[in-house]
């Protein structure tokens, strides 16, 4: 397993380099300009100066080389200085066109709220999905299963910009129970502030969780249905085990194998944030950062974020594979 993991990590390096190269050129070739969003009152020659100061006019290869150098050398040195108190000479870090500040600082600043909101929603979504998936499969075609199918259909088909706004209209505007705008500066210090935090998280978390629930519960249901028909289930029953044990121990353990890998593969999306939901509830996380950066033609930010996502995706693919090997004793990687 260790061998396998190391080998996969080594293979990932050229893959990621290639991915970053492709992303860079795609982003660069797309018709975006960091000065496009500036007011028209700013004269063209000033715009040109701005572009120059950003380095936009350098040849693509040079820009890519600089970015790569910043990513591979400057950033690690900088963080080494920060964390381990080393004293390396740090070159220029990756600087955002838009804020003119280091991209990584903003990313780190945004990470907590993204992880808290999107991560919570993922966990909540999974926790809701598990019982739904199990019961739907065990009572296939029952009213519960049909209701689960309906909820999943809604979760799959209703986009968050609809469900989110609907939730706001109901719970914020009509009922006035929950805030419609997420306060990212809020800190939890006592019970009251925890309640505030809890209330402002309810809607974004539930809107996002609906999608996770829809996906995972359907997946688990299908997996459970597959396993319920297996011979070993008959064996378990023939041993005189309680139905509960048969389903929750024997069937569930097997059914979770593919589901857990799907869950692991979904984790990078947590870091990626939830662009639309963040926009709707003003949870300014990494998703919102990415979309704003794309709109602003902020290539370094877009490039760095997408590269991070690529790394996470590669990493979690590997984790999913390793988890599979751990969950399923039949799989052995070497």
């Amino acid at each position: 397993m260790l061998n396998y993991t190391i080998r996969r990590l080594l293979i990932a390096i050229p893959t990621l380099l290639f991915i970053s190269f492709v992303i860079f050129f795609i982003v660069k070739l797309s018709p975006s300009d960091p000065t496009a969003n500036l007011p028209l009152t700013i004269p063209p020659e000033v715009r040109e100066k701005i572009r120059e100061s950003l380095g936009v006019n350098q040849p693509l290869v040079v820009q890519f080389y600089l970015w790569l150098k910043q990513l591979m050398i400057s950033e690690p040195l900088y963080w080494s200085n920060q964390w381990f108190g080393t004293n390396f000479e740090v070159g220029q870090r990756i600087i955002s066109y838009q804020t003119r500040s280091p991209v990584m600082d903003i990313v780190i600043q945004r990470m907590p709220q993204t992880l808290i909101v999107v991560g919570t929603s993922y966990i909540v979504g999974i926790l809701i999905a598990l019982p739904i998936g199990i019961i739907s499969a065990y009572r296939q075609y029952s009213w519960f299963d049909n209701a689960g199918t309906l909820v999943s259909m809604i979760g799959f088909s209703v986009p968050p910009f609809f469900s989110g706004v609907l939730a706001i209209v109901i719970f914020s505007v009509l009922l006035g129970w929950l805030p419609s705008i997420y306060d990212t500066t809020h800190t939890v210090t006592d019970w009251d502030s925890f309640v505030v935090q809890f209330k402002q998280m309810i809607m974004p978390v539930m809107v996002l969780a609906l999608q996770t629930t829809a996906q995972i519960s359907r997946f688990l249901r299908a997996s459970m249905l597959d396993n319920l028909n297996q011979d070993y289930v008959r064996t378990a029953r023939a041993k005189g085990l309680k139905e509960q044990t048969v389903v929750l121990v024997h069937v569930l353990r097997n059914s979770l194998i593919p589901v857990i890998t799907v869950i692991a593969l979904g984790v990078p999306a947590i870091f990626g944030g939830a662009i639309i939901t963040e926009q709707v509830f003003k949870v300014n996380g990494l998703g919102q950062l990415l979309i704003i950066s794309i709109q602003a033609g902020d290539v370094p930010t877009v490039q760095t974020l997408t590269f991070m996502f690529a790394v996470l995706i590669v990493l979690f693919n590997l984790i999913a594979d390793v988890l599979y090997g751990i969950m399923d004793p039949r799989i052995r990687y070497d």
Binding site: P31, P39, K49, R100, R110, P179
Partner: protein, 573 residues
């Protein structure tokens, strides 16, 4: 000079008005009213307006950074950090118009307690004009040859040529004074490295930055060293960014979570419905923004290759004012306002609709739609539908077909559809096209879809000018400003209008100092443009914002930032 006096008089009146508002039982301790919550759905990415010229950055920074003089909600200039407005009369402006001398108010300190000096102003000029800095507001310092401190409080700005309107450098929210001490190491290429300074500039304004999260949220607290006692009334400002206009409007008008929401470009009926909830008020400020059509005076025929949309070949029919006139007459501007802009728009027949003194009334016929008249104009000018397909042809048999492009935006597409319908009625066939805003306004010389390249017959967008002086704006339509391949398609004369007479007027304005005279020139230039029908103005657009009914003192302005008088805001009890 009479007019300038007039202008100053208005200023004084406004100042009195402000004071009287304050006298209205709202005085008291600084910070007495707690927190005010402002939502800008486009979030500021930095607090250094010199590094990003975006409105959101300028407006948020204006709570902290101030300039020598600013414009109030009527467009009148107000002394801010300066004691008074220098004029030729009071000797502040040299008679040959080549220098201006500002005197700083006494006792103004930065929020860190250090005194504001003329050197800070000089540093700001150096900061923005450093060739490696990429300063977004560099144009404000155009023509500034030198700045010198006559003493700590006296700043003399010399111009390389006579400057009839000298109130640009360090005037208005877009060129505020930054602290020399804080930015000393941030000149030129080092500017982006000063993240701390860029994200938390020290200023003289009513608030100081407590926390800045780029593209997300800013927390301001009242500046303890602010020069005016008892101001600001609010102890802190939560300046939230992100989301969308509808959400921002909802948070003020429906849920009451926020006190002020900016730039609410949403369906007017929706906005009206929200306002009817009774939580807040929608306010509009009209500046100089005009949504207009540009009629390409050059031929965009793809067959021309590199010569496409260049002065090499004139447009086959749009150079004829009769065609443009008919097109303008066919448009029901009032309907366009109703459908797309609501409170945020007014019908206009001028490309220069404000300030009042500059607004022409010569073209007001356009305010009423006249389809029959339009048809007649075309008919009389020889554009007849000879083959009966419903489309008129030019005398040499070319059909009146136009490609009409604009940026992708729901309101613009609605407008396009309506206009297409009216033009069809008068026998002009219209093909519509929309382009993503970042491409359209992106200015990439390699892209065929930028508004500068103008590979179409007609395009529509909004433009305006900052401040109150139209000289530079009107200079946009000189012949030499026509974009083309030789200038990398840079240039602001988008419709490629060219008239020696116009150029002469422009030149004259750059030499004329008297406000009345300048106004006359500006009107003449406006009328000349209007009558050429190379520009068809549609809507005078205002900034639409909303504030909670409990928020007092809001005087929305389009001449400076909307938050220009935030130190006077208070909570109604």
């Amino acid at each position: 000079m009479k007019n300038l006096k007039l202008l100053l008089a208005t200023t004084a009146a406004a100042a009195i008005a402000t004071t009287s508002a304050l006298a209205d039982g709202h005085e008291g301790e600084r910070g007495r009213d707690g927190e005010v919550k402002i939502i800008y759905w486009q979030a500021p990415s930095t607090l250094n307006p010199y590094l990003s010229g975006g409105t959101k950055e300028v407006e948020s920074a204006s709570l902290v950074l101030e300039s020598l003089a600013r414009f109030d909600n009527t467009g009148a200039i107000q002394p801010w950090l300066a004691e008074s407005i220098p004029t030729v009369e009071n000797g502040g402006v040299a008679a040959d118009l080549t220098s201006i001398t500002w005197k700083l108010k006494e006792g103004v300190t930065w929020s860190d307690g250090t005194p504001l000096t003329a050197n800070d102003a000089i540093f700001t000029w150096k900061y923005c004009t450093d060739p490696n800095g990429g300063c977004a507001q560099a144009s404000y310092f155009d023509g500034v040859e030198n700045m010198e401190a006559l003493d700590d409080r006296t700043l003399k700005i010399s111009f390389s040529a006579p400057k009839p309107f000298p109130y640009t450098a360090l005037v208005g929210s877009e060129s505020p004074i930054i602290q020399a001490a804080q930015f000393a190491d941030c000149l030129g290429a080092k500017a982006p490295e000063c993240t701390e300074a860029n994200f938390g500039p020290i200023g003289t304004g009513p608030f100081t930055v407590a926390e800045f999260k780029p593209n997300d949220v800013i927390r301001f607290t009242a500046n303890e060293n602010f020069r005016e006692a008892g101001k600001p009334a609010f102890a802190s400002v939560l300046f939230k960014g992100g989301g969308d206009a509808a959400g921002a409007a909802r948070s003020v008008l429906e849920t009451g979570e926020f006190d002020y929401a900016w730039n609410l470009q949403i369906d007017p009926t929706v906005l009206k419905a929200m306002e009817d909830k009774g939580n807040g008020t929608v306010v509009t400020a009209f500046g100089t923004s005009v949504e207009r059509l540009h009629l390409n005076q050059t031929d965009p025929d793809p067959a021309l290759g590199d010569a496409r949309s260049t002065t090499a070949k004139a447009h086959p029919f749009l150079t004829d004012p009769n065609v443009g006139k008919a097109m303008s007459m066919a448009i029901d501007r009032a309907l366009l306002v109703e459908v797309g802009y609501g409170a945020g728009g007014q019908v206009t027949c001028n490309v220069l609709p404000a300030p009042e003194a500059y607004a022409s009334t010569a073209n007001d016929d356009c305010k009423v739609q006249d389809i029959e008249g339009a048809k007649k104009v075309l008919e009389d000018a020889g554009y007849k539908d000879t083959n009966g397909d419903g489309i008129r042809e030019t005398p040499d048999g070319m059909p009146l077909k136009v490609l009409y492009q604009t940026s992708t935006n729901a309101v613009r597409q609605d407008t396009q559809a309506l206009i297409k319908q009216w033009w069809t009625e008068i026998g002009i066939e219209t093909e519509l096209r929309n382009i993503d805003a970042s491409v359209f306004f992106g200015g990439d010389p390699a892209s065929p879809d930028t508004f500068q390249k103008f590979y179409a017959d007609i395009e529509m967008y909004t433009n305006n000018f900052a401040g109150v002086d139209p000289e530079a704006y009107m200079a946009n339509w000189q012949c030499k400003e026509i974009p083309g391949p030789d200038t990398q398609w840079q240039g602001s004369n988008i419709q490629r209008f060219c008239s020696e007479e116009y150029d002469a007027l422009s030149k004259k304005m750059s030499e004329t100092a008297g406000l009345e005279e300048r106004a006359k020139l500006a009107k003449a230039m406006n009328d000349m443009l209007m009558q050429s029908y190379s520009i068809i103005p549609l809507i005078h657009r205002g900034g639409v914002s909303a504030h909670a009914n409990s928020l007092g003192g809001v005087l929305i302005s389009d001449w400076d930032t909307e938050l220009w008088n935030i130190q006077d805001w208070y909570r109604k009890k």
